[in-house]
């Protein structure tokens, strides 16, 4: 619902901008409508899909033949950044084993353009990156896993037969070791 609303705002702002960019923005700001200004700033042209939890949930329950590594992270989370190369490496090495990595960014809206995009670009990240933007954390955290208190890094590994949640960081060896329990 939120997403639709934001999308609507984005579209209307975009249409407005296409007509008369500079003037439109001034009007919006002078009108003092923070929601619209914010939607223009944060929603527009972010390179990654932005989901609320309802939007993200299908990615946590796919029933195809792949094994999914879903990592919850943020650019400001030091241990998350530390383990990121291991996910990238495993994704590359395990492609033939039908393993797919999904990096779910919990960066805040004001960081999407300033932190997240430059980070992904600079590191040349190949895995799929999506944004989870849903402040009702007490509602959705238990739906990811009852074991999860909310600290990151946190990772869910699953396929149609098995799922395990890890509230911790990985080394390359640890990640590979866990993964072998899913792909053999």
């Amino acid at each position: 619902m939120n997403k639709l609303f934001a999308l609507g705002l984005m579209v209307s702002v975009f249409v407005g901008c296409a007509e008369k960019k500079g003037q439109k923005k001034e009007e919006v700001e002078s009108a003092g409508n923070e929601m619209v200004v914010q939607a223009e700033e944060v929603g527009a042209d972010v390179k990654f899909p932005i989901y609320d939890f309802d939007g993200l949930e299908p990615l946590l329950h796919k029933e195809d033949d792949k094994t999914y590594i879903v990592n919850f992270w943020a650019t400001w989370c030091k241990p998350c950044i530390k383990e990121m190369p291991y996910f990238e490496r495993v994704q590359e090495e395990q492609k033939t084993n039908n393993v797919e990595v999904i990096l779910v960014s919990l960066d805040m809206p004001n960081m999407w353009k300033t932190q997240l995009e430059p980070f992904v670009e600079k590191k040349g990240i190949q895995s799929k990156v999506v944004i989870l933007d849903d402040p009702k954390q007490n509602d959705w955290i238990p739906k990811v896993s009852e074991e999860w208190g909310g600290g990151i890094p946190a990772t869910l590994i699953y396929n149609k037969d098995k799922r395990t949640f890890y509230q911790r960081g990985f080394t390359y060896e640890e990640l590979n070791n866990e993964l072998t329990k899913f792909i053999n």
């Binding site: 943020a74 400001w76 989370c77 030091k78 241990p79 919990l106 805040m108 809206p109 960081m111 402040p135 009702k136 954390q137 007490n138 509602d139 955290i141 238990p142 074991e147 999860w148 208190g149 909310g150 600290g151 990151i152 890094p153 509230q167 911790r168 960081g169 060896e173 640890e174 070791n177």
Partner: protein
């Protein structure tokens, strides 16, 4: 439920230990299953405040309880809640439930959370409450804090400081004006009124303690 969980973890641990005889960190694993639950008695501590004094819960003779909040300088979620933590102290200190903030991070791992930086942050934001450094990181594992910010509401009773609520401050970190449920305020109000607290625990994204 708890038993199977513990069994599960133990089995997992055994596998890990067998697989990696050396250099495997299991310390972080443990914490999620340790720490206080609602109804437990919380231990007192003596930690250094940003003003240089040592602070313990027993210093607060007339307190009815405490909002022990694990927080830090560097975490964006902690920062997003700083003003709301100040507001909680302003509201509840006069009612006998002061905020006691504790930085659980190891300054060697996170230089931005050093004692000197804590002093700066407290001065800049105008903290009205103690902001303590968990030197040696002994207190946060005892409480079972896993992230910042992480709140533990304690009630002073004849037999000790009882844990009444564990979790998040409210249900919207992004925007204080969009909050639907003020978890901590509801919990403190219920505690002071002698009513049942609901919910007693909540979850929130936070920065893992380092």
């Amino acid at each position: 439920m708890k038993k199977t969980k513990i069994l599960g973890w133990s089995a997992l641990l055994l596998i890990f230990v067998a697989a990696f005889a050396m250099g495997f960190k299991v310390a972080t694993e443990h914490n999620s299953d340790k720490g206080y639950e609602v109804g437990d008695m919380a231990a007192d501590f003596s930690l250094k405040n940003v003003d240089g004094t040592m602070v313990s819960l027993s210093d607060f003779d007339r307190a009815k309880g405490f909002l022990v909040i694990f927080t830090c300088n560097t975490c964006p979620y902690a920062q997003a809640y700083e003003d709301r933590i100040i507001a909680l102290d302003a509201k509840y200190k006069p009612q006998g439930v002061p905020v006691i903030a504790i930085n659980p991070n190891n300054p060697n791992a996170k230089p931005g959370d050093s004692f000197a930086k804590m002093k700066e942050r407290a001065a800049k934001k105008g903290f009205t409450f103690p902001y303590l450094l968990d030197e040696g990181q002994k207190v946060y594992p005892q409480y079972g804090a896993t992230r910042t910010p992480h709140v533990f509401l304690l009630e002073k009773t004849a037999s000790g400081n009882m844990v009444k609520y564990i979790g998040a401050i409210d249900d919207n970190y992004q925007d204080a004006s969009q909050v639907d449920e003020k978890f901590v305020e509801n919990a403190v109000n219920a505690m002071l009124a002698g009513n049942e607290i609901n919910p007693k625990t909540t979850k929130a994204i936070g920065c893992g303690i380092q």
